[in-house]
């Protein structure tokens, strides 16, 4: 054996050689390569086992569980007020929206009417979170393609949003701002001014995004007709969010099942039909514009009033099952609560968008090169703690 010859002390490494040979290649002589759990392109602890023929991908096998914190089980021993804080740690890039989903689900059970002011604040926060999340995705995806500079440009705008969040919520990443019945605290006095100046900044800088990345020939060659996901496949894999919308699926929960005041604001559901990486890219880029549009409509006149409905100190959901879905930056997040009538949920299940989107990865990249895998995975916008929970 070639490997045996190269080793100086074969006796000591017998077992190692056997192991290397067993997992190193398949019977057809294909190369098996482990991408992750520590790898720059997986943006977390995703572990992909690739079967390669040269550089061509034959099989992709995602291995999950490296960051499983059993959040669903933890939630079962926490009260309806407490469990929301844990959900900020699922999809940490859209923690507001996770909190929002849980709050809405609990409110459904309690049948609480949320004050108009709280609804406005929630939607503005959601959309700001969506922009921040897409900014980060934009930078990280460009980094996957080997361009470093966009990352810093994206962070310049994202920092402004996190500053706004910090002022009002006290946190920059895991906000825990939304509670059953409304939001936790009053807005910071500077909030409206800050958001308006952010919108100004964003509109001034958005052309840089297109100049630096979108219009680049190399970038377009890397993205167009790569990682194609057809309309039927997008549905059968259960994809949601920008991934499915890039394949032409109407799946924006904000349009289909509007919650809070999404039914009153004007915005377009961004749909592309190509289904390739470039379409997914364009969908997210345009979604940022739509989010700006929503924030612009709401920021001018946030109605006066309470920011939180009056609720009991200890929340008890009636016996039954409650389900609420929201549109996070990555797709459809479902919260399913089974209540036995006590102060803690009997069972909680989260339907996370990343998990379904990841399942389509193998279908998308089969027969392509390693570079394409990284590019296609970048456009899926995976957040691993969201997939593993």
């Amino acid at each position: 054996m070639a490997i045996e010859k190269r080793l100086r002390r074969p006796d000591k490494y017998d077992q190692a050689i056997k192991m290397v040979e067993e997992i190193g290649t398949t019977t057809e002589g294909d190369l098996i390569i482990n991408v992750g759990p520590q790898h720059p392109a997986t943006h977390g602890v995703l572990h992909l086992v690739l079967t390669l023929n040269g550089e061509t991908i034959k099989k992709v096998e995602p291995h999950l569980g490296y960051i499983h914190r059993s959040i669903e089980k933890m939630c079962e021993s926490l009260s309806y007020r407490q469990f929301i804080y844990v959900t900020s740690r699922m999809d940490y890039l859209s923690s507001h929206i996770n909190n929002h989903a849980c709050a809405l689900c609990v409110e459904k059970g309690l049948q609480v009417e949320v004050p108009q002011r709280a609804q406005h604040i929630r939607v503005i926060m959601d959309e700001l979170t969506r922009i921040a999340s897409h900014e980060l995705w934009w930078g990280a995806m460009a980094m996957d393609l080997g361009a470093f500079t966009p990352f810093f440009h994206a962070f310049r705008e994202r920092e402004t949003i996190t500053d706004i969040m910090e002022k009002t919520c006290g946190a920059r990443l895991t906000m825990n701002y939304m509670v059953p019945g409304g939001v936790m605290a009053e807005l910071h006095p500077d909030f409206q001014k800050d958001v308006k100046s952010f919108i100004q900044l964003y509109k001034k800088k958005i052309h840089e995004y297109n100049e630096l990345v979108t219009g680049n020939v190399i970038f377009q060659n890397r993205m167009k007709s790569i990682g194609i996901l057809s309309y039927e496949d997008a549905i059968s894999y259960g994809c949601s969010g920008p991934v499915a919308r890039a394949s032409g699926v109407h799946c924006d929960i904000r349009k289909l099942y509007p919650y809070d005041i999404y039914s009153k604001v004007e915005f377009d559901e961004v749909i592309e039909s190509a289904g390739d990486s470039f379409a997914r890219y364009l969908v997210r880029l345009q979604e940022m514009q739509q989010s700006i549009r929503i924030v612009e409509q709401l920021i001018e006149d946030i109605p006066e009033g309470d920011f939180q409905a009056k609720t009991k100190a200890v929340l008890k959901l009636p016996k039954g099952e409650f389900y609420q879905r929201v549109e996070t930056a990555r797709g459809e997040l479902g919260v399913y609560i089974v209540s036995e009538g006590g102060t803690t949920p009997y069972r909680i299940k989260f339907r996370s968008p990343g998990f379904s989107n990841l399942s389509a990865l193998e279908h998308m990249v089969k027969g392509l090169k390693i570079g394409d895998l990284v590019a296609a995975m970048g456009t899926l916008d995976l957040v691993i703690p969201d997939i593993d929970r």
């Binding site: 490997i3 190269r6 080793l7 100086r8 490494y13 190692a16 290397v20 190193g24 190369l31 390569i33 790898h39 720059p40 392109a41 550089e55 460009a142 980094m143 996957d144 393609l145 080997g146 361009a147 470093f148 500079t149 990352f151 810093f152 440009h153 310049r156 630096l212 990345v213 680049n216 190399i218 970038f219 060659n221 890397r222 090169k369 390693i370 570079g371 394409d372 895998l373 990284v374």
Partner: protein, 349 residues
């Protein structure tokens, strides 16, 4: 000059020996210095492009940052992975390094300042520079790491193919000068640089040259061999400590060398900017020292290559090879014919 002085005062063997030592010292010093300067420059250029400050803590404006980094790398343990081919694994960084050092020899840094004025200078440059792929392949194979292997294979395919168009664009200038000696090439640009003298074909061949050498030095957007988001660190994934530092340094020296070659062939090396019969202007230009001309041009080109790196995404390996074999190579061949016609008819200035 030094050579004459040595020959006059010592016996020939001693003179030769002293010369060897001097040149060796010079090469090593230049090497270390260039590495430090270029790494610092890259970090500052990147910082400017990425709207941040870059290193600014160690020393004034952070100029000793690279020195500190190098010290750290020297003091780190050099790991050799289990199952690696120890001999080749240790040899590889030195192969890459020695190749980079050898290429320095015929480059003219200033007027009458050249380590070795060989009459086949350009041929020597192209021949030696293609050796570095052996070091990279060695590193990739000996690491016993699949990422390294993939990186090395990519690098092999890439360097071998891009050498063709780099060579052809170099050849188009040689057609003009009729000499392979670096010194002759520079002297032939006394009345204007080749990029201006030989019309559009020279500009085309310059663009092909700069693209090809970016690929040859494994720089983004052609950094297939490293491709950190795909292959973690490519062929030097398993290297640490000083061995890694050698690869790192060699990369920057290679950038310097290819830019120096570019400056020599297309921008007249140390030759000041002369325009036709503007005697006064030419005289003023002559007052600027030749070394400043050479390093100015070279650093200008290096900046161009750094600019590429920090703004472009990476190509895919098949796109990379397509670009070479389907576009650059045919264009540079056609361009060579054009240049030959220009040279024969004497249409250049």
């Amino acid at each position: 000059m030094i050579q004459e002085w040595l020959n006059n005062h010592f016996n020939p063997t001693l003179a030769l020996l002293t010369e060897f030592i001097l040149v060796g010292l010079l090469a090593i010093m230049l090497f270390a210095l260039l590495g430090l300067i270029l790494v610092f420059m890259e970090r500052k250029v990147a910082a400017v492009m990425q709207i941040r400050l870059g290193p600014n803590r160690v020393g004034p404006k952070g100029i000793f940052q690279t020195t500190a980094d190098t010290l750290k790398l020297v003091m780190k343990e050099g790991l050799v992975p289990d199952g690696a081919d120890k001999f080749l694994f240790n040899l590889a960084p030195f192969v890459v390094m020695i190749v980079a050092m050898l290429i320095l020899a015929p480059i003219a840094f200033a007027k009458n300042f050249q380590i070795w004025d060989i009459n086949i200078g350009v041929l020597y440059l192209t021949a030696i520079s293609s050796l570095s792929v052996i070091g990279i392949l060695m590193a990739g194979w000996a690491s016993n790491n699949k990422y390294s292997l993939l990186g090395a294979m990519r690098s092999g395919a890439q360097i071998v193919s891009y050498e063709l168009s780099a060579g052809l664009s170099v050849l188009s200038i040689i057609v003009m000068t009729g000499s392979l000696s670096i010194n002759d090439i520079i002297l032939s640009q006394q009345n204007g640089w080749w990029i201006f003298k030989a019309h559009i074909p020279a500009i085309i061949s310059f663009f092909i040259f700069i693209t090809a050498v970016t690929a040859e030095t494994n720089r983004a957007p052609f950094d297939m061999a490293e491709a950190e988001s795909e292959l973690t660190a490519g062929f030097h994934t398993e290297y640490s400590g000083m061995r890694f530092a050698l690869f790192f340094l060699a990369e920057y020296i290679n950038i310097f060398i290819v830019c120096a070659i570019g400056a020599t062939l297309f921008f007249g090396g140390w030759m000041p900017l002369h325009i036709g019969h503007w005697e006064g202007f030419n005289h003023i230009m002559d007052y600027i020292p030749s070394s400043i001309w050479f390093f100015g041009k070279t650093i200008g080109l290096i900046f161009l290559i750094m600019w590429f790196r920090w703004t472009f995404p990476r190509l895919r390996i098949d796109q990379l090879l397509n670009l070479e074999w389907k576009y650059l190579l045919p264009i540079s061949m056609f361009n060579l014919i054009l240049m030959t016609v220009i040279a024969i008819m004497g249409w250049h200035f």
